[in-house]
């Protein structure tokens, strides 16, 4: 049992990161219908923001974190303006922006690989390398920090959608874009903000996980796959679905490696197995949208 309790907090932290990446997908997907596979690269950009501001320039953590996230917001917002909006303006089919954003995956990655050395870059922990113990359960400071920040983000996003007029505007756009426009909602602004917000939460995921994985120009694709799987498991209908999916995915991954009587090399296929199971048996995910 000692191993399980040790794993629980770390797996929850990994699940929170997957959940944040999943939320990055969701924030773009709901108002626009666009599946944006560039969220993994946004996470990578958040990690490199942490490397530059926190490691190279040694800014205080809160300030560096805020600046890195502001930068990812600008990147997301600019991506919508430059890459997506021209296609929407020309009434291009939905597939066009999805493919354009896939192209942006290469643009982001190659830009970073041209600017930075190919080695993994260190990003500091928010509170150092110590551990917190809660009885039998224990986890690193960073794991606890990831869990706390992620819960705050999800609660904030949930409150935004459920309790604010602006959030209702986003909901309206996700329900029916044309009707929302006729009601006076500025579609362009909602779309641009959804890209900016998606980039912020994905970038936050990258920044939070980077002290463990280091910042590396190839880190985006695995995170994009894990975030997408989390979203499929949890369902796209509800904000909290991404978090639930992320937590289940991380637990399944790590418990399989630890306890399944198969070589750990095979256990790495667990995310894809879960993805296939949910796509075949429950494509709407665990949580359905409210009526």
């Amino acid at each position: 049992m000692q191993d399980f309790f040790e794993l629980a907090v770390g797996a929850a932290a990994s699940g929170c990161v997957y959940g944040l990446i999943g939320l990055g997908y969701l924030l773009v997907l709901r108002p626009t219908g666009i599946i944006n596979f560039a969220v993994g690269e946004w996470a990578m950009l958040g990690a490199f923001g942490g490397f530059v501001l926190l490691t190279q320039y040694e800014w205080p953590y809160p300030l560096g974190m805020a600046a890195a996230l502001a930068a990812t917001f600008l990147i997301g917002w600019t991506t919508e303006r430059v890459v997506v909006r021209p296609l929407v303006a020309k009434s291009a089919p939905l597939l066009a922006p999805i493919l354009a954003l896939l192209g942006m995956v290469v643009v982001y990655r190659e830009t970073i690989s041209a600017i930075f050395p190919p080695d993994p870059m260190p990003v500091p922990y928010a509170f150092g390398m110590g551990r917190l113990e809660f009885g039998a359960i224990g986890g690193t400071y960073q794991s606890c920090f990831i869990i706390g920040v992620t819960l705050a983000v999800f609660i904030g996003v949930w409150l935004f959608f459920e309790r604010t007029v602006a959030g209702k505007a986003f909901e309206a756009v996700s329900l029916h874009r044309r009707a929302a426009a006729l009601m006076g909602i500025n579609l362009s602004r909602v779309t641009a903000l959804s890209f900016g917000a998606g980039a912020v939460v994905a970038g936050l995921g990258g920044l939070l996980v980077a002290p463990n994985t280091s910042a590396h120009y190839l880190m985006g694709v695995p995170l994009a796959i894990q975030g997408f799987t989390a979203l499929v498991i949890g369902g796209v209908g509800r904000v909290e679905g991404a978090l639930l999916g992320g937590l289940l995915l991380a637990l399944a991954e790590q418990l399989t490696v630890r306890y399944a009587p198969i070589p750990s090399g095979y256990a790495q296929g667990m995310p894809l197995v879960l993805l296939m199971i949910f796509l075949l048996l429950r494509p709407t995910g665990l949580l359905r949208a409210r009526a």
Binding site: P120, M129, Q268
Partner: protein, 375 residues
């Protein structure tokens, strides 16, 4: 900046100099998977060429480097070898990925142009093609593993664990580690793989802890994944010693794994106490303003070996250079104290099998040599 100036000087010689210069082709990787290794090795080559030119060059002629980037892509690499030969390169130094170096051989063999890799470690480079114009002075992968295992034997290990990543090279090295351990009669009580892109290695390290090994062998070559392994090792408070592949000899661990690597032993071809190394480090620091890494030494030795071969040949003639190279003996920066590169009759691998060393991390610094050779 100084290195850039040296490169500019090497590349943009005047027209008159270019006519008289000896052109050496360099195929490196500036953006691909080999970049972490190829870039410092190339800097070592540039530094070496600059040193040679300051002393009047070779046979009274300046060395001119023609540097090309193959992105570790074998097909691109072969085309670049052809381009360099067409531009007049009399020798090609290959510091990109082993498969790319192998592909270049199809061109150099046909064009009868001497080619050498001063750092590639793949065992097959001199065995799959019978190319008398190709040499390898990088330490073979099998030699690296044998050295690490020879050191492990001195610890009387009976039960060990093995961990790697899921990259192709990581799997290949793991296979070689497993074979070597089994041949030595050491039991592998747990064998784990950490997938690249993972966010933690804790489950794998828990399984290893449960198997209670006397030591852990890390065969992985992906730095980020190895760092995850070391983080989990520290977080779980594990105490058994770690013996690691040559990947731990890359300098990035000193910054990306701060506080994690103290006490880890790793195989290397660089002895910081060797007189040649001290002289090289002092000269490099003076010229560029910063200290070289071991990887710079591979490139430096490469260009010096080429210069020695041309001097010995007495003419810039590819056939004579080939013959001179095959009979060369040279003490360079790389290798244990007293090691000399040489090519036994019929062999084109020049790194002495007893020239590897095992070093230990002291704090975050790559520290002293604790074992030499395979005996």
């Amino acid at each position: 900046m100084k290195l850039a100036a040296m490169l500019a000087a090497a590349l943009f010689a005047t027209a008159a100099q270019a006519q008289d210069s000896i052109k050496i082709g360099v195929i490196t990787d500036r953006v691909g998977v080999s970049k972490p290794y190829a870039e410092p090795a190339t800097e070592g080559i540039i530094f070496g060429a600059s040193e040679l030119n300051k002393k009047g060059g070779v046979l009274g002629r300046k060395i001119e480097l023609l540097i090309e980037d193959d992105q570790s892509k074998p097909d691109v690499s072969a085309a670049l070898a052809r381009k360099l030969i067409d531009q007049g390169a009399v020798f090609i130094l290959s510091v990109s990925l082993s498969p790319a170096t192998q592909q270049q051989q199809t061109v150099t063999m046909e064009a009868k142009t001497p080619q050498m890799t001063p750092m590639n470690s793949a065992d097959y480079l001199t065995t799959q093609l019978d190319n008398p114009y190709f040499w390898q002075t990088g330490p073979l992968g099998s030699v690296q593993i044998a050295t690490l295992l020879a050191h492990a034997k001195t610890k009387n290990l009976k039960r060990v664990a093995l961990i790697t990543d899921n990259s192709e090279l990581g799997q290949a090295i793991n296979k070689a580690f497993r074979a070597g351990l089994e041949k030595s009669g050491i039991q592998i009580v747990e064998e784990e793989v950490v997938s690249n892109g993972s966010t933690t290695a804790t489950p794998q390290m828990q399984k290893i802890r449960g198997a209670n090994p006397e030591a852990l062998f890390v065969a992985g070559v992906v730095t980020a994944t190895n760092v995850l392994i070391f983080k989990s090792y520290r977080e779980l408070g594990l105490k058994f010693p770690i013996h690691a592949s040559y990947n731990l000899s890359v300098p990035i661990y000193q910054t990306v794994a701060k506080g994690l690597v103290n006490g880890i032993t790793f195989v290397d071809a660089y002895d910081p106490d060797k007189p040649e190394v001290k002289a090289f480090e002092a000269a490099y620091r003076k010229e560029t303003g910063h200290a070289p890494a071991n990887l710079h030494g591979y490139g430096y030795d490469g260009i010096m070996l080429v210069a020695e071969a041309i001097k010995k040949a007495g003419a810039v003639d590819k056939g004579k250079i080939r013959a001179a190279m095959q009979s060369i003996t040279y003490a360079g920066v790389m290798g244990a104290k007293g090691m000399k590169y040489s090519f036994a009759p019929g062999k084109r691998t020049g790194f002495d099998p007893n020239g590897m060393v095992v070093r230990v991390y002291e704090g975050d610094r790559q520290g002293r040599v604790i074992y030499v050779g395979q005996k």
